[in-house]
């Protein structure tokens, strides 16, 4: 029977990679998910526990895909704890994707926000000059640095890690680093995914300098298909209109960078 992308497909976890003490990558076989676009996501059902939105991580093996999850609340911890052989349900892919420009590109990922960045890297041309900024709190929390270098081995590229506490790479907030970089170099495009305050600052830095910038947003998601409304940011629904928005557009959105909604839908400040 034809696959209905809204209907959960059960997949079996084949490999679990510890990225950091709190971040794991779970690999599974799925043709559809192995071919999605950067910025798209899946809804991931952990039977008996919860279902949550996840960017789809690349895998080195063809026909495979992965989720890279940070242990946080009950839902993400449930996924984090799935063992090899465990079954999860996936539906999607949902959402739009990054517009892939050519030339000098800057990618900024914070935490698991690096996931769509890794997939974006598989779409860049070998002629593109790519700078990747990896932001983390501390050395412990840095991951995907080697992967980034290896994905870019045929490109002119730079991979910069910054940690808040300076325990690895450059010390300081990744957003300050972006401010510096966009002043020094003319980038053709800036892409970012990570904590919203981080994205807000980066969008601001780039947009105010007239640089094309896109961010992939995260919101509480229940349905993933534009029914429940829980993912709204102003008049935008992240699951249908996003996850990727232009800096231009985000600037006219009163809620981006300021408010999100909790499970009851109550507006809360960042």
């Amino acid at each position: 029977m034809q696959r209905n992308h809204n209907h959960p497909t059960i997949v079996t976890i084949e490999k679990v990679i510890d990225e950091t003490p709190t971040v794991r990558t779970l690999v599974f076989s799925d043709e559809v998910m192995s071919n999605i676009l950067p910025g798209q996501f899946a809804m991931v059902w952990i039977p008996g526990i919860n279902e949550l939105p996840m960017s789809v991580m690349i895998s080195e093996e063809s026909g495979k895909a992965a989720f890279t999850v940070r242990r946080h609340g009950p839902a993400s911890t449930g996924l984090f704890n799935v063992k090899v052989g465990g079954q999860i349900g996936i539906r999607g892919p949902y959402g739009n994707s990054f517009d892939i420009k050519k030339g000098k590109l800057l990618l900024v990922g914070g935490g698991t926000g690096l996931v769509p960045m890794m997939r974006l890297l598989t779409f860049v041309k070998s002629t593109d000059d790519v700078t990747v900024l990896i932001g983390a709190k501390s050395k412990d929390e840095v991951f995907f640095e080697d992967l980034t270098n290896s994905l870019l081995k045929n490109n002119p590229h730079k991979v910069i890690v910054s940690t808040d506490d300076g325990s690895y790479g450059q010390k300081g907030l990744v957003t300050d680093l972006v401010e510096k970089l966009v002043d020094e170099t003319h980038f053709d495009a800036v892409y970012t995914c990570g904590p919203e305050i981080m994205m807000y600052k980066i969008v601001h830095s780039a947009h105010s300098r007239g640089i094309f910038v896109q961010a992939s947003l995260e919101r509480m998601m229940k349905c993933g298909v534009g029914i429940c409304g829980s993912c709204c940011v102003g008049e935008d629904l992240v699951c249908k209109d996003g996850t990727v928005f232009d800096g231009q557009h985000l600037f006219s959105n009163k809620e981006f960078g300021y408010f999100h909604r909790n499970k009851a839908g109550v507006l809360e400040n960042y």
Binding site: W45, P47, N50, C228, G229, S230, G234, E235, K263
Partner: protein
């Protein structure tokens, strides 16, 4: 042929048909509304939906306090079409929500309310005193949350008390939304009418379940949920036809509308307006304009000048 001649003539002598409709005292520019629980928690989104062609938006059902609702999975897509949801009436609560829509100027907003006792409804309605509210819709029919929704709708005495209290609290029109529960929904309709209700919305989702054969468990965290979308259309249409055949009360049809033909079927069965929800998940918000256009073309072809020209026609045959 007769039909063809007639409508050809019609287009010369008739004005362009109007999509405006009324449900009792409720006046709307367009007859297709957003159903409760769909995208319904932010004024910005309401404005966008109104610009997209919705004649009104019904809010997520609101309770006195904010409710988190059930954990995910809360929604499931049925293979052959339709959805089963058990969101669990998650909502920011009436007081928070009143603040959200306080600045509303343009959108006809119908505020949906849930509660277990008359006093809760009274308190909530008072919260909206400073808001532009087109009507209240009492959710007597959610099939998957205990002590509210259907459990209220299935209790005729309680329905009577709630409707009476609400009607004494506000002059804004009040709609009762009914569904298929454990008592006969026509009894709920009857008692709501006796208690002074202004209109009926029929129907809510129908209690259902989905089981995953691989992991061998119900998929929704609440196990049971409500079936919506195309599968329930013939059932919802039947309810509208039954209500309009038995009672003289304005009706809003709801359940499985996804094309203009569906909307017209509901008009012909006796509803003055319709609501839709699931079709937004399948066709996104362009669905409102699409249906509006289809209805207009149909009206032109049949020579109708207003929605009311076709309301209830299928009962005459």
């Amino acid at each position: 042929m007769n039909q063809l001649l007639y409508s050809k003539l019609g287009s010369f002598i008739k004005v362009k048909p109007s999509l405006a409709t009324s449900i009792g005292q409720i006046q709307l520019d367009r007859p297709v509304m957003l159903a409760s629980g769909i995208l319904g928690i932010s004024l910005d989104v309401f404005n966008r939906l109104y610009r997209s062609g919705a004649g009104a938006v019904v809010t997520k059902s609101l309770s006195k306090e904010p409710w988190d609702g059930y954990p995910n999975p809360t929604i499931f897509s049925v293979k052959g079409g339709g959805w089963i949801n058990a969101v669990g009436l998650s909502n920011p609560g009436a007081p928070n929500f009143a603040k959200i829509i306080e600045s509303n100027k343009d959108v006809p907003i119908i505020v949906s309310l849930v509660g277990s006792i008359p006093e809760e409804f009274e308190v909530m309605i008072k919260e909206f005193e400073n808001c532009k509210v087109t009507a209240y819709e009492l959710n007597l029919s959610c099939p998957h949350v205990a002590k509210v929704g259907l459990e209220v709708g299935d209790d005729p005495e309680l329905v009577k008390k709630i409707v009476t209290t609400v009607k004494n609290t506000t002059n804004v029109p009040v709609i009762a939304k009914v569904g298929l529960g454990t008592t006969h929904y026509l009894d709920t309709v009857s008692i709501a009418i006796e208690s002074g209700i202004d209109a009926i919305t029929a129907i809510n989702t129908v209690r259902a379940i989905a089981i995953d054969v691989e992991t061998q468990r119900p998929i929704l965290s609440n196990k049971f949920g409500g079936l919506s979308g195309t599968p329930i259309k013939p059932i919802a249409l039947r309810c509208v036809y039954e209500i309009s055949s038995k009672y003289d009360i304005p009706i809003i049809g709801c359940g499985g509308v996804s094309t203009w033909e569906d909307a017209v079927e509901f008009f012909l069965a006796g509803s003055s307006a319709i609501q839709l929800g699931s079709a937004v998940g399948d066709n996104w918000i362009d669905i409102f304009d699409e249906i509006n256009k289809g209805i207009l073309q149909y009206m032109e072809r049949k020579g109708y000048s207003k929605i009311k020209d076709m309301v209830g026609l299928a009962k005459k045959s």
